[in-house]
Amino acid sequence: MSLDASVSVRVNGEHRRVPDGTSVAEMVSLLGLDPLRVAVERNLAVIPRSTLGQVRVEDGDAYEIVHFVGGG
């Protein structure tokens, strides 16, 4: 954690800072995404959508946020 009470995380390979105490659902919303339309993996483990609001973002977390795109 830094002096401005934010934590450092990686989201889809990119560095991001979010306020300390943020839930994963809040982080997803802060990124402009609808938590109901994506799937979130935290440190290689999928977070069930039902618990996105309860899991707190921790300093150093690595997230993958995915959705469905066209594919064969």
Partner: protein, 263 residues
């Protein structure tokens, strides 16, 4: 064989779900979402394959596939395209299950980029793990009747051998092995990959396959929506021909008009 009559709809089932259309289409390589949606509509497909990819967090408001093809109306079949290990494929499908809530998935574990040929050792390993975790994997595989049986024994809900390399459009190169897989399977068999034009789809169906999965043949046609219609007709024609039981081939001619009464 019980050839269905007109009052008896010809359906097929996979993992407890019943479908009328035997054509599964991909959603990649289209010029636009609109064209993609129109092609799906024209194909009559009830299942579409989709890929699982990172959202663009730099531009979160880009249009989404789900805005154009409604997952409530068409069954989304998440795939593992681009995965070269069992671990990557399993990780991708765990996310897919969370994104969509579906356990019916398409597994493909590729062996190399040049041919996109499946790595069967990794594919079998992934199938076993996915089944243990409650997934219902439809599995892209080589046209090997023994490998197909092993996948079925591992819990694959459908066997999907390639007819030719992915995206090649070379047509069904392996009629004998596809037929052997069909004859030996107790789960649906679908040709996945290799179809280039309508007659290829008909060939797959005439071999007794339960369905055909294709993407590039439609998406890269000059008129994708028209080709989607062609594929719908071809799959139906091939299926009907298979059910009809084709005539025996002869080495020489046999007149169709009676010889008796000839003037």
């Amino acid at each position: 064989m019980n050839a269905p009559q007109s009052f008896n709809p010809d359906t097929w089932s996979v993992a407890g779900r019943t479908f009328t259309s035997r054509l599964i289409v991909g959603t990649g390589k289209y010029k636009s979402f609109e064209e993609n949606a129109a092609a799906v509509e024209a194909s009559g497909a009830e299942i579409v394959t989709v890929a699982v990819r990172r959202v663009n967090i730099a531009d979160p408001n880009q249009p989404r596939l789900t805005d154009f093809i409604d997952p409530k109306k068409v069954t989304y079949l998440p795939n593992t395209a681009g995965c070269f290990t069992a671990e990557d494929a399993i990780r991708t499908l765990r996310l897919a299950r969370e994104a969509g809530g579906w356990t019916l998935v398409k597994l493909e574990v590729l062996g190399e980029a040049k041919t996109l040929y499946p790595d069967m050792r990794e594919t079998l390993r992934a199938t076993e793990t996915l089944v243990k975790e409650g997934f219902e994997p439809m599995v892209y595989c080589v046209d090997d009747p023994i490998a197909a049986k092993q996948l079925e024994e591992a819990g694959a809900v459908a066997i999907m051998p390639l007819g030719a390399p992915i995206g090649s459009g070379l047509g069904i190169q392996n009629r004998v092995t596809i037929r052997l897989i069909v004859e030996g399977a107790n789960v649906p068999v679908l040709v996945d990959a290799g179809v280039g034009t309508a007659s290829d789809a008909a060939v797959a169906m005439e071999l007794g396959c339960d369905g055909v999965l294709m993407n590039t043949a439609i998406a890269e046609a000059k008129e994708p929506v028209l080709m989607a219609r062609a594929m719908k007709a071809a799959v139906e024609a091939g299926r009907l021909a298979y059910l009809s039981g084709r005539m025996q081939k002869r080495r020489y001619a046999d007149p169709s008009s009676p010889l008796a009464g000839l003037i």
